[in-house]
């Protein structure tokens, strides 16, 4: 007799429904698995057989055929163990098959019959709800993740026996949907007030965050570029539920959710090393998993030692910077991951790092030019703000009368206000932040007073700057005005924006 139960396959961060069909008939005893399966799915045959036996059920000497449908879609991962086992038990009439109607199953089996956690649960449960299942059965280890979805019953099971008992008696834990609340203070992120000095860079970071502009930090070794960048998630506005959910999905698929489970409540800070490969940055693998650009979604992607990155690797950032998502093309299909990060790049100004301090830097102009020329021009074009950080002397660090900087919370308040202004301005458009606004829309939406536009025109004429730089200044000035709560971009906002420019010939210095 043929039985069907349902499971899910994850591609990118989206899941789709998989039908697991099982047939039991006479013939040479054994289990056949078909349906375009990868190695780990094919091995489920042994795991399922032993797990069923060790859970106290009798496997008759029959020929069992399992088909995972649609059969032309490549299936990977170990989450099919539980649905295959449930399908076989139904087909063997150990479990009345009508009981499993409206259920979806995901989980890996151990030989002892225990159900183990798998990545991508959040996407699966979401898809289950969307496809109209009333319940979904997942590993107990993933229960908190599954509980994030409202409007569907989520059962966490410890073992195969537990799962069967759920239908015959009572078993498994029903998850109580969690009420989402954003963390009041981001956890595990240090405070901005700890940074002494660095006024220019701190202000640049505030502006960058307020308009989601990309930022370039330059400065000698030890000036605190990494220190500053790692604190930027702490001044970003608190995550909304949708943002948090999207991020959780990505981390779920990557199998990187924190072990205590639940949602990602803090904005991520990802700092891949400069030897990172293209798949590590963009995402990849036979069954593609998210790369750094996706793991940094709604947070900061920090590229330290920017010129040391291989140019080809950096070029993959172009698509995510423009489109806020990335396509990963693999043999098994094309998947798409979100990649809505804020880029913070850091570099030394020259090979030795001390330019323009001529007392310490003896790099020749040619060396500096060559060093800075290593950065990809198209990427540099997408960085709106640039701030130089001076080396900090010890007496400044310990000085009592050093002006105390604002705390992350104070800065975040200002940023949230600025973002609220942008929300209002972009209501009904596809934009969310100033940095995303296209040129002609900027002309239409940004109100500039006479002084500001005159200054910008004068600057553009004097430096012969490109149209791209022109609009870059316009967008940054808009953010500066937003931070001040001003509807109109005034002369002083434009002036400040020009203060964070890069040099026109593409060299940072």
């Amino acid at each position: 007799m043929i039985c069907s139960v349902y499971s899910f396959s994850v591609s990118g961060i989206e899941a789709s429904v998989i039908r697991v069909e099982t047939d039991v008939s006479g013939g040479l005893p054994g289990i056949d698995l078909v349906g375009y399966l990868s190695g780990e799915v094919r091995e489920a045959r042994e795991r399922v057989r032993v797990a069923i036996k060790n859970s106290g059920f009798h496997m008759p000497a029959k020929r069992i055929t399992v088909n995972l449908s649609p059969a032309d879609e490549r299936k990977g991962g170990t989450g099919y163990d539980l649905p295959i086992a449930m399908g076989i038990l139904c087909a063997l009439e150990i479990l009345p098959s009508e009981l499993t109607d409206g259920y979806g199953f995901v989980g890996e089996l151990g030989l002892d019959g225990n159900v183990r956690g798998v990545p991508g649960i959040l996407s699966c449960v979401y898809e289950a709800k969307r496809a109209g299942f009333h319940s979904v059965m997942i590993p107990a280890a993933n229960i908190e993740e599954g509980a994030l979805v409202e409007g569907i019953c989520v059962y966490g099971v410890e073992s195969l026996a537990d799962a069967v008992r759920h239908f015959t008696d009572t078993g498994g834990t029903m998850a109580v949907p969690v009420k989402w609340e954003s963390a009041e203070e981001p956890e595990g992120i240090d405070d901005f007030a700890q940074i002494r000095g660095q006024f220019l860079a701190k202000r640049a970071a505030e502006i960058a965050v307020a308009g989601m502009h990309n930022l370039l930090l330059t400065g000698p070794p030890g000036s605190g570029k990494t220190m500053l960048a790692s604190r930027i998630p702490g001044i970003m506005p608190r995550m909304t539920f949708e943002e948090s959910l999207e991020l959780t999905k990505i981390y779920s698929v990557a199998g990187m959710l924190p072990s205590e489970g639940g949602m990602m409540r803090t904005r991520p800070f990802r700092a891949p090393h400069h030897t990172a490969t293209i798949p590590a940055l963009a995402g990849g693998g036979r069954m593609p998993i998210p790369g750094e650009v996706s793991l940094a979604t709604h947070g900061v992607l920090f590229l330290d030692e920017f010129p040391e990155f291989h140019r080809a690797n950096i070029e993959v950032l172009r698509e995510p910077l423009e489109e806020k998502r990335i396509h990963v093309a693999r043999l098994n299909g094309n998947v798409e991951f979100p990649a809505k990060f804020m880029l913070v790049a850091a570099m030394n100004p020259c090979p030795c790092g001390y330019y323009p301090d001529r007392n310490r830097c003896s790099c020749t102009a040619d060396m500096i030019r060559r060093y800075q020329g290593r950065i990809s021009r198209p990427i540099l074009d997408r960085i709106d703000l640039c701030a130089a950080m001076p080396g900090i002397r010890v007496q400044e660090l310990t000085s009592k009368d050093a002006p105390a900087g604002d705390t992350s919370r104070q800065i975040r308040r200002r940023v949230e206000k600025a973002i609220a202004m942008q929300r209002k301005r972009y209501r009904g458009t596809a934009y969310r932040y100033n940095s995303e606004v296209s040129g002609d829309m900027a002309d239409r939406l940004f109100r500039m007073d006479h002084g500001a536009s005159e200054l910008l025109t004068l600057y553009a004429e004097k430096t012969g700057c490109s149209a791209r730089s022109y609009y870059r200044l316009k967008r940054v000035a808009r953010t500066v005005a937003d931070l001040e709560g001003s509807e109109t971009v005034e002369n002083r906002h434009m002036t400040e924006a020009i203060g964070y420019r890069m040099e026109e010939d593409g060299h940072v210095m």
Partner: protein
């Protein structure tokens, strides 16, 4: 172009070795006669080797000459045979004088009167390493501009580093740059300097012993250094390494009896080793273009003029002539600045200072300070060295 000049140009384009040119002229008398000579005559009477003789003979084709003339016409190249009245007198007096010069742009030297230059009467060469430091370039520019201000042509070699900076400074001061190439006329070498090359032609001149299309061979460069020294009355060395082509220029200058001035550098810097060695050997240490001008004026007896603000020429004031700093307060008092700007300006120096340092000192908020700095930048009083680093912009003659 007379027939003789035409053939002289042909000669200078095909033969690069001066000694060979002289041998040919000694054997045949005139360039026209050289042009007429057969291969055997060339080999026997001027003792040319077969390869060179063959090259001379084969270059007499119409196609070769046609191409040459087209190049000359397109790039507005002029050829000055040493008998030409525009040929610089002073180059006839040096050891191994060039027989002909290719020139793009207009020449700054007057003819007849001891080879003196128009305007200031003298010319100064600025030379130095190609691997220059930002500091060295800064100084070379300052000197270039200083001489330009006084109407003195600045001679250099259009190489990377100090040479380029000297030319740039001269152009910035609206002066008269003279570039002596070690490669064939009509193209910049290295290619990075193409824009500078064009600017030099526009506002001054480019000179070379080598005709269009002559490759930039390594031995041409030390050889042309005698022309740099020869065209100048004094040579300023800005940065030189221990073994440097710059030192060849210095040797040539000393052979020709020209003064050598050296800008000192840090003792730890490898770009200072050559400079400090020259100072040790007795070269005059200078820190300001005014010192060079004063010294040259005393030596040559040529009064040094300075171009006034209204474009008229005037004598240097005594202060300027002795190189003593001008009264720096003049400029400050003239500035109609707002009080914040005055405060910030007072904290700025010629060496770059970082934005954060200025915040500590001035106590202004970051957004205020960006505004103040930008308005100072617009006034042309302050220069932004890099994003976040600022310095005072001046001619190097104030109290900072």
């Amino acid at each position: 172009m007379s027939c003789e000049e035409y053939h002289a140009m042909w000669l200078c384009c095909t033969v690069t070795d001066n000694a060979v040119k002289r041998r040919l002229l000694a054997a045949f008398g005139t360039p026209c006669a050289v042009y007429e000579a057969s291969k055997e005559e060339l080999q026997n009477e001027a003792a040319l080797d077969e390869e060179l003789a063959e090259r001379l003979v084969s270059s007499r084709t119409a196609a070769f000459l046609d191409r040459l003339l087209k190049r000359v016409e397109r790039d507005a190249i002029r050829f000055l045979w040493h008998e030409n009245e525009e040929f610089p007198e002073r180059l006839k007096e040096i050891h191994d004088p060039p027989l002909g010069l290719f020139v793009q742009g207009r020449v700054p030297w007057k003819n007849g009167a001891n080879g003196a230059y128009v305007k200031g009467g003298i010319a100064v060469a600025i030379v130095g390493t190609r691997q220059s430091s930002p500091y060295g370039e800064f100084v070379a520019k300052q000197f270039g501009q200083g001489f330009a201000d006084a109407g003195i042509p600045v001679v250099s070699g259009l190489a990377m580093g100090i040479d380029a900076a000297a030319h740039q400074g001269c152009l910035a001061g609206d002066g008269f740059p003279v570039a002596v190439l070690g490669s064939g006329i009509g193209a910049a070498y290295p290619r990075n300097n193409t824009i500078l090359f064009r600017n030099v032609i526009d506002r001054g001149c480019v000179v070379s012993e080598y005709g269009p299309g002559v490759p930039a061979l390594a031995h041409h460069f030390p050889h042309r250094n005698r022309l740099i020294a020869g065209l100048a009355d004094g040579v300023v060395v800005v940065e030189a390494q221990a073994r440097s082509g710059t030192l060849i220029t210095v040797d040539r200058a000393l052979e020709q009896g020209k003064s050598v001035y050296v800008v000192p550098g840090r003792v730890t810097d490898r770009n200072s080793i050559g400079c400090n060695q020259l100072i040790r050997e007795g070269a005059q240490l200078v820190t300001d273009p005014g010192e060079v001008m004063a010294d040259l004026a005393a030596q040559t007896g040529v009064p040094i003029y300075m171009q006034g603000d209204d474009g008229s020429m005037r004598f240097l004031t005594r202060e300027e002539e002795t190189g003593r700093p001008r009264n720096a307060h003049d400029k400050k008092e003239k500035m109609p600045l707002a009080s914040n700007e005055k405060i910030v300006y007072a904290f700025l120096r010629l060496s770059p200072k970082h934005f954060d340092q200025l915040i500590w000192e001035s106590g202004l908020a970051p957004s205020e300070l960006t505004n103040v700095l930008f308005s100072l930048e617009r006034e042309g009083l302050v220069e932004r060295i890099s994003p976040g680093c600022f310095s005072v912009k001046d001619t190097g003659r104030n109290d900072r």
